[in-house]
Symmetry: C4
Subunit: 262 residues, 4 copies
């Protein structure tokens, strides 16, 4: 152990199961106390405790990142998870001085540190993110469809149903809602009372967006299938093929021996 530099010893300490579990523990406790802070009753009775736990947890997180920064040096910035942790803790540090309610509400994002602290969750998020590039083209097509439909519906239905199709952002929201299948019948009926042919627009939009979303889904499934571990049968097939090649090599050696005989 004495041959390790001080930095290396800090790294070993940081990566020890005990420290890792302690950090996870602090994250979970902090997430629970931040949940409790939403209750006025609890804030009245044990608010001072909740705030104290919150400040302590934030101090621990800041200290941990500082120690990690010391231990890994430049390598710290190469791991995107370190960036993730730093940004999340930074968000929690800013509002301590400001009055903005949104930033205060975003402090709970600290609970996301659970993702970077638990290895199996890291893997899941990594898998989710690697699925995104394969979806880019289909997603682009879907966005294009929603945009075109929003421009058309703003122009055609803007006067009829202003609370739904008043301007482009509102139309985009309404069409997103229709795509999720929520309450689209009511919206379509309201438009069709004035423009009876509007069913063409709504049904075409639903069919096309569903069909594209379906293919988006299939692209993800097919990718996941190909990335999946080999099935037991495939593993067995590979092993059998390996054995066949070994036996062929043995046959080959024997034939060579036979050929070398006078």
């Amino acid at each position: 152990m004495s041959s390790l530099s001080r930095r290396e010893r800090v790294r070993v300490f940081l990566e020890s199961p005990l420290v890792q579990r302690a950090v996870i523990c602090v994250i979970v406790v902090n997430a629970v106390t931040m949940g409790c802070e939403t209750s006025p009753a609890l804030m009245d009775s044990v608010g001072w405790l909740l705030v104290a736990v919150d400040h302590t947890a934030l101090a621990i997180f800041t200290a941990e990142i500082a120690v990690r920064l010391y231990a890994y040096g430049r390598a710290f910035f190469k791991d995107p998870w370190n960036w993730f942790d730093t940004v999340i803790v930074a968000i929690a540090l800013i509002p301590a001085s400001g009055p903005t309610s949104i930033l205060r509400a975003l402090r709970i994002l600290r609970a996301l540190r659970l993702v970077s602290a638990v290895p199996s969750m890291r893997r899941v998020v990594h898998a989710l993110l690697t699925a995104v590039p394969g979806m880019a083209s289909i997603l682009g097509l879907l966005v294009l469809l929603v945009y075109i439909a929003a421009v058309i519906s703003t122009k055609l239905f803007g006067d009829i149903l202003p609370e739904r199709f008043d301007d482009l952002p509102r139309s985009l929201f309404t069409l997103f809602q229709i795509m999720t299948g929520d309450d689209w019948g009511t919206i379509a009926q309201a438009v069709m009372d004035h423009k009876p042919w509007a069913w063409v627009f709504f049904i075409a939009y639903i069919l096309m967006s569903t069909f594209i979303a379906l293919n988006l889904f299939i692209a993800v499934v097919v990718n996941a299938m190909n990335d999946a571990e080999d099935s037991p049968t495939e593993v067995r097939t590979q092993a059998e093929l390996q054995a066949v090649r070994e036996e062929l090599a043995a046959l080959n050696a024997k034939l060579d021996l036979l050929a070398r005989r006078p």
Copy 2:
């Protein structure tokens, strides 16, 4: 048969198709009578019969478990299905003395004994349960997302829409409802009337929860695929590879014979 101990003879009796079918029959009849008990009209006319059938069925179930306990001894507690049956019958025995309406309503859980009595249903439930561990990490991520969104929405929207985001449990319920896509447009519109930027929160939440749920689903499908029986083609490939290795062995033997010739 005389060489069997009394316990073994009881076991053979319990596992005979006739007894098994009789038990299934009692379960089904009891499930139907408990359904009939919900009708005041039927209770007025043939209530005494329904109650009598119910008590008889409960007596049969209790007796059957007692006999099984005698027949299998300690092995009884090793099979989780036996625990399942015992707990269900116990729930039915408790409320016989108590006035609590919830426990009385839970007596119908006795119909779940059908699952442990029919082998193909046991297999299905077993398959469902084995799918759960593979989903744990993604489920955890989904729970984390809903929790964080609930804390944020309680803080930001609690004053605007108290009937939806008043406290943490209510927010959790509302966000679960939004995740299932039920009526989310109405909730989002009500919030957006006060905070026009709230669409960012709702659309981000819906996209993220749908995407994680989709990947949860894909994980289950990919697992199911790998656990599935080999397809006919895979079986044929394995058989072909086996034949190839046998022929190689024959070739090997012939070469050995040839090499041993002077």
Copy 3:
């Protein structure tokens, strides 16, 4: 042709593409006229024509079945599609004399003859039906879950929300609706106003029914995958393995020749 019996000649005639297309044509025209009959305006102007076409089509269907019965004799009853056609035409013949509006409305079922007349549709329906047995156990579990939930909700929520959980059939309908995710939030909120803990019931029910339905779906997909035609790669693997075995046989023959040399 003269060697064919009269029955065989009728069969050849029935199976000729021209006759098959003519029957499909009659089915489609009849389906359209029955659709037109729902319009009072059209019935006023050309009602006599629609009724005439309808009667003619029914006469053609009856005649076709009679001819098929003559041509195939007993074999007619062996094909389930013939039973299907006979029942559908019989339904259309009954209400001609009766006043019941439901039976009159069911005359449109004649359009289902399109399924038995178009081979590719027959195949699709056949594929749909073969998927059902593999789903039986999971479907049974789903039905059991809905039944148990219906008995519990009738007992617990019957007094609170009588228009939803009054008696067992109504509860079954409501729970089916909740399973499809339609408007369940409103129903749950109404119950929770009186029994705040009711969210446990609704969320447990939705999670369990969704999870079982998901596995029902996966079972269908996995079955469909295994029944699917071999992929091009699998076909190529089989061809390669076949070639390997042929080459091994050739090697074997050469070795035998070598061994037979003095």
Copy 4:
């Protein structure tokens, strides 16, 4: 380069990355300005600019198609994407003279040129379209089901709920809405107030349409799976089989050599 005809030089120019990117750029800018045109505020302040950009973009599109027509001659009409572009630009040219609001709204379809201009989007749309033929039979069955259900519901429920089932087109719309699961409970309850047995119709319709839609989906997935690239394992299996055949050929050659010895 001097050996290229003038037409060929134009083709090289058209297919150069710079020109392709410039066209994509014009399409995107034009799509954004058409979106801006939906805002009265923006039209008041910079309307003249938006209209100018719009006219310029249309002129560029028309010129580009004319140049392509010159460069490729008859081959222009063989590529369906050229037809696609021509029709879209033609739609944009027509309303310049007419007052119809629908055609003016359809000008945004020009944004669809993005699909033909970006190769990866072309591929996605191509993949979507090739999936359609495999779905034809199941889609036909689904359409037949909705049509039959619409005729039945018009006849049976037309008097009870005229705003939903008044005539055939309205019933078709309502049944499409029910198939998407939107608000079907409310519709079914309204009908069941008059005809209590109507639940049979609605539940049968939902189960059948969901089951057919599910199989439509599975058909698309299975097709996509078979069309998917080989998985790494399959590629490895093919490589192994290739190696086995090469080794067998080597063995064969050695045996021939051995046999030719005296």
